[in-house]
């Protein structure tokens, strides 16, 4: 299988008030083209930091990270056009309508107008927001915002999708809808990497799952193998086995 993301010895250190925090500590793994790759781990495990490095928002302290063959440090401008990001913090302009938010994204990614309009109509229908297309997103429910965020990240038809906790705080219906979208985008050939705190979500969707703890990858395999190797009945048990029961800050 062909790797689309290659991470070798990634280290990311933050300095905060004289303290040195190693958020990601010597992590190496590959993500293959066309797979759905999940990252799970307790709070503070380093998932979001790894994500930020992969999406060119943070520069690695050391190590090498390549996305679609491009170096995240030197070729970030090559990476940004081919990735689509759903950030953890919903980030839509509340005083723009759903359509305007999508248009802004399309314009910033330089999508030709005609193609963009077609995609916007198609995706709004796909997620059932066509009747709210011209409403300000400030008045949207959490689920509506999330669906909009997900389609805002595909307007430019990216090769790789990054979803940071896409289903946190959503009702089961919206969660199901998000899963369907994940599978749909994946069958269209897009690689999807996401983080989650819902073990059944990782179990349902992922070809492979990486378990992170204290800045390191402690396990990486397909969900079935992880369960078999640890004797866990479900991914939640696997998770606790690898990361312990202690509650994190």
């Amino acid at each position: 299988m062909e790797p689309i993301i290659e991470i070798k010895n990634l280290v990311k250190v933050f300095h905060s008030r004289g303290r040195k925090i190693t958020a990601v500590n010597d992590v190496s793994f590959d993500v293959f083209k066309g797979e759905i790759f999940g990252m799970i781990g307790p709070n503070g495990a380093g998932k979001s930091t790894t994500f930020s490095v992969l999406t060119t928002l943070l520069k690695p302290t050391s190590g090498s990270v390549k996305v679609a063959g491009f170096d995240v440090e030197k070729q970030d401008d090559k990476i940004r056009p081919i990735i689509g990001i759903v950030p953890q913090k919903l980030s839509l302009y509340p005083l723009l309508t759903a359509r305007e938010n999508l248009e802004l994204m399309g314009n910033l990614y330089n999508v030709p107008k005609k193609v963009m309009e077609e995609r916007i109509d198609y995706y709004l229908r796909l997620v059932g927001l066509e009747s709210s297309a011209d409403r300000f997103t400030g008045g949207f429910s959490g689920g509506m915002k999330q669906r909009l965020s997900v389609i805002a990240a595909v307007i430019h038809d990216p090769e790789i999708l990054f979803w940071d906790e896409p289903s946190t705080g959503l009702d089961p219906q919206t969660r199901q809808a998000i899963w369907k979208l994940a599978k749909k985008f994946n069958t269209e050939g897009k690689t999807l990497i996401f983080t989650t705190h819902y073990m059944e979500e990782a179990d349902n969707l992922c070809n492979r799952v990486a378990v992170m703890n204290s800045g390191k990858i402690v396990a990486l395999d397909d969900p079935e193998t992880l369960k078999k190797n640890t004797g866990g009945a479900n991914l939640e048990e696997v998770f606790i086995r690898f990361t312990g029961e202690e509650v994190r800050d």
Binding site: T55, T56, L57, L58, P87, S91, L104, L108, Y109, N110
Partner: protein
């Protein structure tokens, strides 16, 4: 990333800013009204206009020096709208406490006390002290009296009173408008740039924007284009309002006027970016904003001539870019002078713009 796409991107950003602004009705109204309210309130209400301010001269000295001093003050005929600024009366023998009680009672705006040995000391070239009591509750008047008396006293010796016609035939509005324009542009560009960035940080849209291929430069350029149009638009509204409501004259070049505004707005935008770099949300930004813009408002001579301010205040004012913008706009709008007269202001304002902009771009990190 070619220059063309950067510019296209920056226009996308600017367009978005305008679209969002057009929907912030609650912000739009004060943005336009603020300068008009300032002009109307300060132009009509506070009025730096000093008319017939009563001044008392207490002198028991009958020597030559004191007589001529008294005469000079009495002959001073600076006028506002045809009214003399001061009406002077004279008396002999009054103690300082008595004089203070007269000020307290509101009978006089200022009392100048000439010691009985004044003339002798002047004749002998010795130092002597004149006591000037003013009604400091009335800041405008007392400021004017102080600055006036200072100029008189500075001439001791030959005592020739030659007060330049700074206030002579000026309406206070003429003096005020350039100051309010500069203040509006400064507060507006700093506050709207910074608060928009801080707000976008808070709701995550800024990070979202930085995840797209758009360069940092394009985002900043887009915000700057938006600010330039917005602030110059506000200045135009203010000038029209000042003209329609109170009658106002422009004596200088509109081109120079625009040049000063553009350079100053750039500095303000840079300032706003720097100030928003250290904060994570809108509210923190507004607090920092108050700290930075309020002193500028009161110290730099928007509402009173800087020359009548105490020295320490003048020193602070000379460190603030707003002072130079006000100075340049007054020179253009009131005195109608050209480029050479405002060159030092322009140099300082350009430096301000270059420094804040460079620092702003550096501090405005892609890293979230």
């Amino acid at each position: 990333m070619t220059i063309k796409t950067e510019i296209t991107d920056s226009f996308i950003v600017a367009k978005k800013e305008f679209k969002i602004l057009s929907r912030k009705k609650a912000l739009l109204i004060p943005l336009v009204l603020f300068p008009i309210v300032m002009i109307v309130f300060f132009g009509y209400g506070m009025g730096g206009t000093v008319k017939n301010a009563p001044i008392l001269i207490v002198s028991s000295d009958t020597g030559i020096a004191s007589s001529s001093l008294v005469q000079e003050i009495g002959n001073y005929t600076a006028k506002y709208n045809g009214n003399p600024m001061f009406s002077v009366t004279y008396t002999k023998d009054m103690s300082q406490s008595e004089a203070e009680s007269k000020i307290n009672a509101g009978m006089y705006k200022g009392i100048l006390m000439i010691p009985s040995d004044y003339s002798d000391r002047v004749a002998k070239n010795e130092s002597t002290t004149l006591t000037l009591l003013t009604d400091s509750a009335d800041t405008t008047t007392s400021g004017l009296i102080i600055s006036f008396m200072r100029q008189v006293v500075a001439k001791t010796g030959s005592i020739i009173l030659n007060i330049p016609n700074i206030y002579g035939h000026l309406e206070f509005l003429d003096f005020l408008t350039p100051g309010v324009i500069a203040l509006t542009v400064f507060m507006g560009s700093v506050a709207t740039t910074g608060s928009a960035i801080a707000g976008e940080k808070e709701d995550g849209t800024l990070v979202r924007m930085l995840m797209t291929p758009v360069s940092k430069r394009s985002i900043i350029l887009g915000k700057t284009i938006y600010q330039l149009i917005l602030q110059i638009g506000r200045a135009v509204v203010l000038i029209i309002a000042a003209y329609l409501l109170l009658g106002f004259n422009m004596n200088g070049s509109w081109l120079l006027f625009s040049l000063v505004l553009v350079i100053f707005t750039l500095g303000g935008v840079g300032m706003g970016i720097i100030m928003s770099a250290g904060v994570e949300d809108y509210e923190s930004f507004m607090q920092i904003n108050m700290l930075v813009t309020m002193p500028s408002m009161f110290v730099t001579g928007v509402f009173f001539p800087l020359s009548s301010a105490p020295n320490w205040m003048q020193y602070i004012a000379y460190c603030l870019p707003l002072t130079y913008a006000i100075d340049a706009l007054r020179i253009i709008m009131i005195k109608g002078q050209g480029l050479s007269a405002i060159s030092h202001d322009l140099i300082i304002l350009s430096l301000f713009a270059v420094i804040t902009f460079t620092a702003g771009v550096r501090l405005f990190r892609r890293e979230a």
